[in-house]
Amino acid sequence: MLRSVAMRVHGAVRSGVLQTAVRSPAAIQQRLSHGKPELSEEEFDQKYVDFFSRPNIDGWEIRTAMNDLARMDLIPEPKIIVAALKACRRLNDYAVAVRFLESVKDKCGTKANEIYPWIIQEIRPTLDELGISTPEELGYDKPELAIQDVEDMH
């Protein structure tokens, strides 16, 4: 009991007294890796939006860009997703659109319950405009088909 009270008093002194005295002057946002970033976040987003919005984009380029996005350590911004879905519409490839949404959900990782609904909310107008069903509406949030074991095939 005495020990816990002492700890509490100690913590109160630390947080109340010491921190006001030794407070850091200001929060400074700093990028700690060496070298300059090649593109800022806005430039990166704009680059991909421009890429997906190109009128003469073809299936190879759209797939390559989506594969690249799936490999990067990021979740695509909703405006990139919107541009990508519109590119799918121009190329008449429905499966790629659904697959890309699945990939985006996969990129959310453990935070899928927080980030993915927000992304869907942001791109909902585009989904309704183009008639794209989300993977959840297609029932792809749960395993649908099992794959046959190749050892049992022949």
């Binding site: 190879w60 799936a70 008449n92 499966a95 008639g131 792809y140």
Partner: protein, 181 residues
């Protein structure tokens, strides 16, 4: 596990054949293996193979070969997507891709079989040991080996020939054959 190995076999076979062959090395893109599936992208390595994975959601070819029904559906896909039924949308997806992401992640119960076969092996080995041990006669000198006098004499011989002399065993008086005071 087996499935993963199987999907890598074409690449492995090619590499092995290349290393073992005395002929010229040539690049084989496996184009004829993809049949009449539509080639839609670059894929993993430029070869015309299908691959499902989180790191590469879009493989080089569509999963299913083109047939009359799929061509008709692809024609309908060029129209408004709101006219597609749910079933057609799923068919389109499965025409291009084999597994969804959650199906890739689905747990593989193979480990249960592996664990079961391992335990069977352990049980068989244990049973063989118990059977053998129960029918084997005891060693004729077992009682003599385990006797207190035999073991004391054995230790005494070790001390006499200086087995422990280089091991900081300082409590023993080697001259008088007893513990130091």
């Amino acid at each position: 596990m087996a499935l993963k190995l199987r999907t890598k076999l074409p690449q492995l076979a090619q590499t092995m054949a290349r290393q073992m062959s005395s002929h010229d090395i040539f690049y084989h893109d496996q184009r004829e293996l993809c049949g009449n599936r539509e080639i839609v992208g670059h894929g993993k390595s430029g070869k015309y193979t299908y691959y499902d994975g989180h790191d590469l959601p879009f493989p080089a070819i569509r999963f299913r070969p083109d047939d009359a029904a799929s061509k008709a559906l692809r024609e309908k896909e060029k129209g408004d997507w709101k006219n597609l039924t749910l079933e057609e949308k799923k068919t389109l997806y499965r025409h291009s891709f084999c597994q969804t992401f959650v199906e890739m992640d689905a747990p593989d119960p193979e480990w249960k079989a592996v664990l079961g076969y391992t335990l069977i092996g352990v049980a068989v080995a244990w049973g063989m040991y118990l059977t053998t041990a129960s029918i084997m006669p005891e060693h004729p000198y077992r009682e003599f080996f385990d006797a207190h006098e035999t073991r004391v004499a054995s230790e005494q011989r070790k001390l006499d020939r200086g087995t422990y002399k280089d091991k900081d065993f300082t409590g023993w008086d080697y001259e008088n054959r007893k513990w130091k005071e």
